[in-house]
Structure formats: C-alpha cells, structure tokens
C-alpha cells in the first residue's frame, strides 16, 4: 500500500474527475493533506455549500445560487442581445473581455450522438421560447468550430432565424499571429469570414 488508508480514501473520492486530468485526485489529496486543519475544514464546508446551493439559472442556464442569475437580473445589460454558448466556462471567458453587454444562454453541451446528447438534452427549447417571446434583436452564436460545435450552431440557427437576426463569432488568426505561420485550416476559415474594410 503506497498510501496510508485515509489518504487513499481521499484520493479515491475524486474518482469522477475528467479523463483528461490524470491523477488529479492524487495531486489534490497530496496538496490538501499538507494544509492546516482549519483551512481543510473551511474547504470541506465550502465544497458542501457550493454543492448544496449552486444550481442553474432558470432563464439562461448559467450556474447560479439564485433562481435567476446576476447577469439575467442586471438592469444595465442589454436585453435585446443574446449570446449562445456551450458551457458556463465559456461565459466566464467572454465576461473577462468586458466587451459584451448583452445577456447569455448556456446550452449545457453540444449535440454529440456518440455521448448520447441530442437537441433534447440541451437547453434549446428554453432558448427558442426566450427568443420567440421576448423582443431580441440579435442572437450571437459563440460556439467552438469543432464538428459538434458546427452541427449545434447550424441546428440552432435554423430554429431561431424565423424570429430574429442570428450571427456567429468570427474564426481566424489570433492577435499578434503571423500570417506566414498560420495553418491552412485557420487561414481558410479567416478567408471565409473576411469582411469589408470600415
């Protein structure tokens, strides 16, 4: 037995960690065991509270301790713009830019038959209801250009087009990126998404 028994149990309590994080349980356990007891107790309490209190916003699907999340309640945000994203993590990434003042809709994943995820498993119905019942001027699809992302974007695009203008974010060269070193796939995408000079 490499680990003493309680430590082994702690390591095993992270069993459902995503498969692309190998040994995350082991690393966290080793780190936690070295911290002061009060800190660990606070961590344990924080974990329980987070699990108990955090649910999803009934309007947009973002993680929230309230029935309706802070972003949805914010009066200063533009009600007529909606940005559709796959995951709450994408929302956080977009918020960091402080460029977007509209509201969000979190799908909770992408269409992926391999994983048994169809449109019914995603927050698509609530999105269509939201767009058809409230005066929304534009829906921005901000979904990664993967195979699954493409299918999801087009699927939702078809559903929403009768109600409002639907756009998608541009894909192309990263800032500071050198054209010469860009790969052909990215270049082709950037070329596809070209636009007139202002």
């Amino acid at each position: 037995m490499v680990y003493t028994r309680p430590l082994a149990r702690l390591t095993r309590t992270f069993p459902a960690s995503p498969r692309h994080w190998p040994q995350i349980g082991q690393r966290l356990a080793m780190h936690i065991i070295k911290r002061p007891e009060e800190e660990v107790a606070a961590l344990a309490q924080a974990l329980i509270d987070a699990k108990k209190l955090v649910g999803t916003c009934t309007t947009c699907g973002h993680l929230s301790a309230e029935p309706v999340c802070e972003i949805c309640r914010a009066p200063a945000r533009d009600d007529t713009m909606l940005c559709v994203i796959a995951d709450s993590r994408d929302l956080i990434a977009l918020e960091k830019t402080r460029e977007y003042k509209g509201k969000y809709h979190v799908l909770g994943g992408l269409i992926s038959p391999i994983d048994g995820i169809g449109p019914e498993q995603l927050n698509i119905q609530s999105l269509v209801r939201r767009v058809s019942q409230t005066p929304i001027k534009e829906v921005i699809m901000a979904i990664s250009p993967s195979i699954e992302g493409e299918t999801t974007t087009l699927y939702i695009g078809h559903l929403l087009k009768p109600f409002t203008r639907v756009t998608r974010i541009a894909f192309g060269l990263p800032m500071g990126g050198d054209l010469e070193y860009a790969d052909e796939v990215t270049l082709a995408r950037a070329l596809e998404g070209r636009r007139d000079l202002d």
């Binding site: 038959p113 449109p119 195979i147 299918t151 790969d183 796939v185």
Partner: protein, 375 residues
C-alpha cells in the same frame, strides 16, 4: 533525403537503441518477432504520424514503461539537417519536436520525412479488400498534402457521430430527427467531397507513371489504369458543389437502408480504387506473379511521384518483401532505385537475395529488441 540515424527509447521491444545509417542500403536481419519491423514502424510514425499496425499508442510503448521516445536526424536537399523528435505516451498524448522545438500542431510534422512502404502485406493490394487500397492511397496523400490528414481526421469524427446517431435510431433510443440528420449529411458530404476529389486527382497523376513502370517491368504492352470509384455519381471534372450535390442525392436514396443497418453507407470510407489492365479488373487478370508485378509498379510510381512533387528522394522501406520477389523482380527494383534511394530492408534470411543487393549493403543482426552487431 537521407536518414542519418535513428534513436529509440522504450519503443516496442527496444529498451534503448541507436542506429547509424552509413550506406544507401541497410538490411536488418533476424528471426521473426525480434524487432526488425518495429524499426521501420518508428520511421513510419515519424513520417505519417500513424502506424499501419496499431492505432493505440499504448502498444508502441515498451511493456512496463510510460513513455517512448524517437529521435531521427536526417538531411534534406531543401531544408538541410533536421532533427525529428517524438514522444509517445501510454495514455495516447503525443508530442513532436523539430530541431528541438516543440510543435503545437502535429500537422507541421507531416511531409518532413518522406517514405514509401512496401511490405509483404502490400502483395495483396490487388486482391485484398478495398480498405487496403484506400489506406495505401491515404498514406501517400498525407505525405504530399499534409492538410489531407486534417480532412481525414475531421471526416472520421463526422462519420463516428453520424454512425452513433443512426445506431441510436435503429435501436429506438432516439426518434428520427430530419433537421439534425440533414446537418450531419451536409457535413459528411462537404468533407467527403474534398477527400474524394483529392484521392481522384492523386490517382490521375499516379496513373501514367504506374502505367509506364508496369510496361517496363512486365515487358508487355498492356495498359494499367487506376480510377477512383466512389459510391455516388462522381465526375471529377465537375465543380465541387455539383459533386457534393451528387453525394447528398445518394445519401437521400440510401436513407432507409442506413437507418435499417444503423451505419453510414455512402462516402470515402466505402469507396473503391479500381485497378484494371486493358479494361479487365486486375484481380481477375493474370497470375499471382503478374499481380506482384503490378504492385511493384505501383510502389515505383509512388516513389517517383513523391520525388517529383517534393524534390526529395523518399526513403524506401522494404518490410519482409524482398525475399518474396523472384530474382528478376528484385533486379528490376534494384535497377530502378540504384544507389539513389536510401532503402531499409528487413528479412529473416539472406539466401534468396541477389548478390548485388548484398554487396553494397550495411547488414545488422537484430535480436530481441537489440541490434547485436554487424554481419
């Protein structure tokens, strides 16, 4: 191009091994399952980022080890000396480096080391199943058009998703949703059309070269013809949108059958490469020996085409195949490559080799994952 050396660590059955190539021909001699082909497999991985023997990196890492390393030094006419490095892990995560600099995209690794593989399995290229011929064609395309590797991977992912959906429909787990299916159809057709066009174009370029070699080797005047034959109405000269439309039409026609069988029935994953000699399908034509002549002609054409496109002579990897060719064909091959093409040969015995092959070759004895010495 010249491969100067190769270093393997924890790769397959090799604990640690360096090999310096000094001549234009290297023979790896040894009993079966000693690790001769593993050396060629290492070169294959560096060249096309995949092995024809396994799709799991776990198999490539030595038993009991976590990580395998490959390092090769080569000299190209156009880019000078290059060091290629590859790290393989049991969990499937790979990293590649060129001249010690890690590459973010593995695509940039393709086309650095060009090679033509000729193994004893290839002798069945004419008679074997269509997947053998598709695999052969894809291996060549990846070297000539690195972007093809990306398209191939993308197509594979679309196919996996679409098949999963069809299977779920057949099992009654989900209802048929025409909207969603239309989107998978569209993606399959878009990427599938690109693959089909590139494959067809490659065969058109390869055809005259292969025909010429075939006539030279067989001493006959029969015409060899290579055509790409998709499962939908395909006219290569048509505009890409027309080809895509034809693909979609066939998908529509096959829609019921696809749902019943729970799998995709149209697309490059089912297409055929048709080989004919004087309009007769090659598999029905001639003896086994004549079919071997045809395969040899294809391999020589491959070599010539890579050289014409890249300006570099590719490596030739002869895996267990030279002894399978009779002396006449061995000599024809030797005449064609002479000392110009660096060749690595594996064999269990030297007895059936023409003396010319042996006279100029560097010969290593391979035993249980170690090169035990020069012969």
């Amino acid at each position: 191009m010249y491969l100067k050396n190769l270093h393997l660590q924890h790769f397959r059955n090799y604990p640690e091994q360096s090999i310096e190539f000094t001549g234009s021909k290297t023979i790896l001699l040894g009993e079966n399952a000693q690790g001769k082909s593993n050396l060629l497999e290492a070169v294959e991985l560096l060249s096309v980022l995949r092995s024809h023997r396994t799709s799991r990196d776990r198999d490539l890492v030595r038993e009991g080890e976590e990580v395998a390393r490959l390092v090769a030094n080569l000299k190209r006419e156009d880019r000078g000396n290059l060091e290629m490095g590859m790290v393989l892990r049991g969990n499937g995560r790979r990293s590649v480096a060129l001249n010690g600099v890690g590459l973010r995209r593995q695509l940039d690794f393709l086309g650095v080391l060009n090679m033509v593989q000729f193994s004893s399995l290839d002798l069945d290229l004419v008679r074997g199943g269509p997947e053998m011929r598709r695999h052969w064609l894809d291996g060549l395309l990846v070297q000539l058009e690195p972007i093809y590797a990306h398209l191939l991977q993308q197509y594979g992912q679309i196919l996996k998703q679409r098949n999963a959906l069809l299977k779920a429909i057949r099992q009654g787990k989900v209802g048929f949703d025409p909207e969603q299916m239309a989107l998978w159809d569209a993606q399959l057709a878009t990427t599938g059309t690109r693959l089909a066009r590139r494959r067809s174009r490659l065969l058109q370029r390869l055809n005259p070269i292969a025909d010429r070699w075939h006539q030279a080797i067989s001493g006959g005047s029969e015409h060899l013809n290579l055509t790409y034959a998709p499962k939908f109405d395909f006219v290569d000269t048509n505009a890409i949108e027309d080809i895509r439309q034809a693909f979609l039409v066939r998908l529509q026609q096959k829609a019921i059958a696809e749902q019943q069988q729970g799998t995709s029935l149209v697309g490059p994953h089912r297409d055929e490469v048709v080989l004919t000699i004087n309009q007769t399908p090659a598999r029905e034509y001639g003896s086994q020996g004549q079919q071997r002549t045809l395969v040899l002609a294809l391999k020589l054409a491959e070599l010539e085409l890579i050289e014409a496109v890249t300006g570099e002579t590719p490596l030739l990897l002869l895996d267990d195949v030279l002894a399978e060719l009779d002396l006449q064909r061995q000599n024809q091959l030797l005449d064609a490559i002479q000392d110009r093409v660096q060749t690595i040969i594996t064999t269990t015995h030297l007895g059936s080799f023409d003396a010319q092959w042996l006279s100029s070759a560097q010969i290593f004895q391979v035993e249980n994952g170690t090169i035990v010495g020069k012969v």
